[in-house]
Amino acid sequence: MIWDWDWTLEILPDLLTQGLLVTVQATLGGAVLAFVLGLFLALLRRSRRAYISRPVGAVTEFIRSTPLLVQLFVVYYVLPDFGVSMTALTTGIIGLGVHYACYTAEVYRAGIDGVPKGQWEAAVALNLPRHWTWLSVVLPQAVRRSLPALGNYLVAIFKESPQLSVITVVDVMGLARELGSERFRYLEPVTIAGLFFLLIAIPASILIRRMERRLDH
């Protein structure tokens, strides 16, 4: 099998525009959901009320212990039976977002635990109301500490997004498969798709490592 440059040039624009656009949408949508929902999960899990913290803990543990693929199938094929139906992409974004929220919740939790006790005590000594202690003292510091790990999850979400193709989302990978099936030739489209991920993931990882080093001191 020899690399077909003509065909490569023919399919490249589609993969770059349509395919990559969907991948980026799925990644950013999923990441925003994961970052926001994860913070709420972390806070709920810290609740002093056991009837809140326990169930939240159990659900996050459950989601973390089952494969994303299974969750996507359930949301896409089973929920419509209960009258919930969404587009494939929306389903995918929610699936990715909720799945990774259960991981980012742990990141935030570590970030919150890492805020020194002295900060809380200073807030008490200044009589700062509880919610302002969270909003202006603890969370800004906790989120800052969490940024490198969140960045790593952003890259992870990006790399996992091709799984959405199993629920008919046509992202870079889905499109590559479609293009390949037209000619029963997968070398070019799938290689291109892989290169896309590589070209984006590597600089992103380098950026994150640099950020990590900056936050260290």
């Binding site: 200073a122 008490v124 000594a125 009589n127 202006s136 003292v137």
Partner: protein, 272 residues
């Protein structure tokens, strides 16, 4: 743990204004360790009191109890005639709720050994955050006041800097300004110069000396710096094993201590 305490039988009216701080049979235990044993002591409004004694003698715990960072195991504490961590219900005292704590805490401010400035805010914001959020002071007023306080601590040019850009001594001066911004009546100083490089200590001490002399602030100070204790205080309390073993004016304590433990302690500190 006992959290209910019988109120004292003495006349409350008398104690109203006479004492700013009043400890009545205060016991504090951490697990099996008893840090304070039935401690009684009183501080008058405007009085400046220094607590000295070996580590683990319970000095810092007293400050932390007053700041409501810890709760008493038994006994009562009053600040300006109000129970600190109890409220009266009928003829019994019950542990106070957060609302009550917020009320009494208004009178008390604290400066910590490790400064505990908020690293995510600049200096000005560190000082204004609590007045704005806790007291509802309009931001421009809070900032004007903060700039005055920065003038006082001689850091007017650092208002926009973040704490990490300041030296330890400067950070501690900001922390002092931050505590003063809440206009407390009682200021607690917890080994405020212990974490500083030696050459930065005197700046902070001079500032505190000025503050002590100007205002009618009640000062409660834990320190290992005997010269500073002598300069700043009206009265010195020597602690050992959760109890006061000796008290008196600084001159007397430092020149002719009566108690054997005090002599040993001063000897050890001065030799260090």
């Amino acid at each position: 743990m006992t959290t209910e305490t019988q109120p004292g039988h003495d006349s409350r009216a008398e104690s109203e204004r006479q004492w700013m701080i009043r400890f009545d049979k205060v016991v504090k235990r951490f697990g099996d360790v008893t840090v304070l044993r039935e401690l009684d002591f009183h501080v008058k409004p405007g009085e400046r009191v220094t607590l000295i004694g070996p580590s683990g003698s319970g000095k810092t715990t007293i400050l932390r109890l007053l700041m409501t960072l810890e709760r008493v195991t038994s006994g009562t504490i009053e600040v300006d005639g109000r129970y600190l961590s109890h409220t009266r219900r009928g003829d019994r005292l019950v542990p106070a709720d957060e609302k009550h704590l917020r009320q009494v805490r208004k009178k008390v401010g604290m400066v910590f050994q490790q400064f505990n400035l908020f690293p995510n805010m600049n200096v000005l914001r560190n000082i204004t955050e609590a007045p704005v959020r806790a007291l509802g002071v309009p931001r421009d007023q809070a900032e004007a006041k903060a700039r005055e306080l920065l003038e006082l601590v001689e850091l007017a040019d650092k208002a926009d800097k973040h704490p990490s850009r300041l030296s330890g001594g400067q950070q501690q001066r900001v922390a002092i300004a931050r505590a003063l911004a809440m206009e407390p009546e009682v200021l607690l100083l917890d080994e405020v110069t212990s974490a500083l490089d030696p050459e930065l200590v005197s700046g902070v001490q001079n500032l505190l000396r000025d503050i002590a002399q100007q205002g009618n602030l009640t000062l409660l100070c834990v320190t290992h710096e005997m010269r500073f204790a002598r300069d700043i205080s009206d009265r010195v309390l020597m602690f050992d094993q959760g109890q006061i073993v000796e008290e008196g004016d600084p001159e007397q304590i430092f020149t002719e201590p009566e108690h054997q433990r005090t002599r040993e302690f001063l000897q050890a500190v001065l030799d260090a």
